[in-house]
């Protein structure tokens, strides 16, 4: 989860601590589980934050760098990506599970292990490459359909958080088809879903995925060519669209707010030569120290059966260097007010945007943290963001014509091995011609776009920033009714601040 929902303010005074705990205990708006989770977060935050250098602390204090509300004293990696393929093959000593012999046992084993996968949301952000996992157990398709429906329902009702993600593809399989059919039928926001797409993916399967995407807003499409060049075949898309090695994960996510950085700078030169390098260094320091805390002080890997059974390896964990607000940073620094001079519309602005990303990339890859390596991640925003556009996106309401929008997006996504994504709502006519969407995806991927999400302008399930919510749930939540999904509350806030409902719908007349 890329947000600090339900978190009490950090660094609270001891005198207030009890009050804060009591407030959580008695909050009528929180369910039992939400109280439990908030209490544990509050406990984590009783300790002082991991100590930073004075310089780094200044960037943290003014919100230019942010630890994503992961907690002052992190004791587990933000995202854990277990090797579920291996788990199904070998079973688990710790969980006392034999390798499954049919699809029911496979589904049951998965449901069991999900309960033991740590993450920042207390629930798994990755539940596996489902078609690849389940295909070997399909004997009878009807039975498989029932079993897979049960699995998806289980995840939707227990994890109930759209940051829970599964992957499918790139090949056409029976399991993959069943998952897509159920996705269309069930119309649920959880789990989030990505189709790993490459030139081996048959058009027919891709078109099925697009049809599902136009009714249920998932799956999103992943440019496998880009990611497998960086990670090999063994990577997963998790949470929003974070890309991480399987059998590893993401230790922490830091976030550089480029808008705030630009607000603090006095000139382009000062930004590029002083503030930006300092801020990048500050964020690297914060991530580095927090990661050391997880590994060296809390010794996460030493008491994890996932590590003991080699479902995760410490060396496959990386740090995610997130950023937001490139558009605002470029426009502010260049003083671009007229639309044709602004980011997304003007070559100079776009080139400057690229220069900023290149500079960050160089600085980050030069940094040598104690554990793992850091890679760029295009952070999707948090629900309280206002006036900050996620990652390198063009702000909602300023979208140029679609071909230009796609080209700028592809150009800016090059340096983000830990994932980045953009969203395109298409008008409902695309449903009758899913091939049109496939043409757009193929074109975009040939230009090295990494990840493309889409939905139809008339869908109930829609994508807010990286995660999915039901429009109808947001309305219910706004009316004060309890809904199962954690994301409805986030969505409600973000729909306002991120203007998700106002995105330019892409249509035939889109010149």
């Amino acid at each position: 989860m890329d947000t600090g929902c339900h978190l009490p303010a950090k660094g609270m005074q001891r005198g207030n601590q009890m009050n804060d705990l009591m407030r959580i205990l008695k909050d009528p708006k929180l369910t039992y589980r939400q109280r439990l989770f908030s209490l544990s977060k509050a406990a984590e935050n009783i300790g002082e934050p991991v100590k930073l250098s004075e310089k780094a602390q200044r960037f943290a204090d003014c919100g230019i760098i942010y630890d994503m509300g992961e907690g002052n004293t992190p004791y587990c990696p933000r995202y854990v990506v277990p090797d579920y393929d291996k788990f199904l093959k070998q079973g688990s000593k710790f969980l006392m599970l034999a390798p499954p012999s049919d699809i029911w046992e496979a589904v049951s084993n998965l449901q069991i292990i999900y309960h033991h996968v740590p993450s920042v949301i207390g629930l798994p952000v990755y539940i596996g490459h489902l078609d690849r996992l389940l295909e070997p157990y399909i004997a009878d398709e009807k039975e498989a359909r029932r079993a897979i429906r049960m699995l998806l329902t289980h995840v939707d009702r227990t994890v109930s958080d759209s940051f829970c993600h599964c992957d499918i593809g790139p090949y056409d399989t029976r399991a993959g088809r069943i998952i897509l059919e159920l996705t269309e039928e069930m119309q649920r926001p959880v789990p989030n879903m990505s189709l790993i797409y490459n030139e081996k993916t048959p058009d027919e399967f891709a078109l099925r995925a697009i049809s599902a995407g136009l009714t249920a807003s998932k799956p999103s499409f992943v440019n496998d060519g880009m990611y497998s060049a960086e990670w090999g075949e063994s990577y997963a898309v998790v949470s929003c669209y974070n890309v991480l090695p399987i059998g590893g994960g993401g230790l922490t996510l830091g976030r550089l707010n480029l808008k705030k950085l630009a607000d603090a700078s006095i000139s382009r030169e000062q930004l590029m030569n002083e503030l930006l390098p300092d801020a990048v260094l500050a964020q690297c320091e914060q991530m580095d120290k927090r990661e050391s805390f997880i590994i060296d002080e809390c010794r996460f890997f030493e008491n994890s059966f996932l590590a003991a059974e080699e479902l995760i390896y410490p060396e496959r964990f990386v740090g995610m260097f997130g950023l937001v607000g490139l558009a605002e940073c470029v426009n502010k620094t260049l003083g671009a007010t007229a639309q044709e001079k602004r980011y997304g519309h003007c070559e100079q602005a776009n080139a400057f945007g690229e220069e900023i990303i290149d500079r960050i990339d160089k600085l980050v890859s030069r940094y040598k943290p104690k554990h793992g390596k850091f890679y760029l991640h295009g952070q999707v925003g948090i629900s309280s963001d206002e006036g900050v556009t996620p990652n390198t996106r063009i702000p909602v309401g300023e979208e140029p014509d679609l071909p230009t929008h796609l080209m700028v997006t592809a150009r800016m996504q090059k340096k983000f091995p830990c994932g980045i994504g953009d969203i395109f709502p298409f008008e409902a006519t695309a449903k009758r011609n899913p091939k049109a969407v496939l043409d757009i995806i193929k074109g975009a991927f040939s230009m090295n776009m990494r990840y493309l999400s889409f939905y139809s302008s008339d869908s109930d399930v829609i994508r807010i920033s990286g995660y999915l919510v039901k429009r109808s749930d947001i309305l219910k939540y706004k009316e004060g009714k309890a809904v199962l999904s954690n994301s409805a509350s986030l969505g409600s806030e973000a729909a306002g601040n991120l203007h998700a409902f106002e995105r330019k719908v892409r249509s035939s007349d889109d010149a």
Binding site: P403, D439, S508
Partner: protein, 277 residues
């Protein structure tokens, strides 16, 4: 270098054939259908100058060479189209094939092909042939959206360069066809047979206007005609009054109770893909 009269270009279209396509709308058509949605594409500008004074942006000027349109000033308010009593538009541009492709250059990586529509594209067959050739040079497909008024056998160059056509069968009855379009349907039907027989018919369409056309008769006839060619699709289009001028302006949009039986009829006659829109 041949020049074409271009009414407008839509870089991305989801509704002009398979996949995502750039649609090029040409100016000029010999039919004058009572339900025409874009009557401003029918005739060439007469240079009467009426629209010039009414343009709120001063985007139009009249000189000896005819009307001139300044796209930079235009607000696309369509006032000029509404006042033109010649069924024309001052925004028609004279373009070379290169200019058309320059305009869709950014769209090219994202499209399956181009569709030339109208107006009636076969009236400018030399220009269209060049567009198709260029599309193929880019590895794109080339489709024509045609009313079928020109015998495709008489324009072999274009027919050769064209991948497939989308053809209207507006009415199976000659008299009704004349009443609706001002022309007979003989060539249209001959074209449907010919293009289907050489594998160049992508789809036929019929606009359904209950109370005005004998839709049942036309759908029955047209579906039998294409049934032997399972790859040819049939699109049944509900009449919509958007853009329509004249007696049909106030006709209602037919609902499913009209469209579904027609769809069933086409399926029963052996058409494999029938779409109602």
């Amino acid at each position: 270098m041949l020049k074409g009269y271009v009414n407008r270009i839509i870089p991305f279209s989801f509704v002009d054939g398979p996949g995502n396509r750039s649609a090029v709308f040409l100016q000029g058509c010999d039919f004058s259908c009572k339900y025409c949605h874009n009557p401003e594409t029918i005739n060439m500008c007469s240079g009467c100058g009426r629209c010039v004074e009414l343009c709120p942006r001063g985007a139009l000027t009249l000189s000896k060479e005819g009307i001139k349109w300044n796209s930079g000033l235009c607000a696309f308010c369509d006032r000029c189209l509404k006042v033109c009593s010649y069924n024309s538009s001052p925004r028609v541009r004279t373009m070379t094939m290169e200019q058309v492709f320059e305009e869709i250059r950014e769209a090219l990586p994202f499209i399956e092909g181009i569709t030339v529509s109208g107006g009636e594209c076969t009236k400018q067959n030399g220009f269209v042939t060049e567009l198709f050739r260029e599309a193929h040079a880019f590895g794109k497909t080339a489709f024509a959206d045609t009313n079928g008024e020109t015998d495709f056998r008489s324009i072999p160059e274009l027919t050769k360069e064209m991948d497939k056509a989308m053809l209207d069968i507006k009415s199976s009855d000659a008299r009704e066809h004349i009443m609706l379009t001002g022309s007979s349907n003989e060539t249209v039907i001959e074209n449907a047979r010919y293009l289907a027989s050489i594998g160049k018919l992508y789809e036929i369409r019929t606009v359904v206007v209950p109370g005005f056309l004998d839709n049942f008769r036309t759908v029955d006839f047209a579906s039998r005609l294409i049934a032997p060619y399972p790859e040819v699709r049939y699109k049944l289009i509900r009449f919509r009054k958007w853009g329509v001028r004249g007696p049909l302006e106030e006709f209602p949009v037919p609902d499913d109770s009209v469209m579904e039986p027609l769809k069933e009829l086409a399926l029963k006659n052996g058409v494999k893909i029938v779409e109602v829109i």
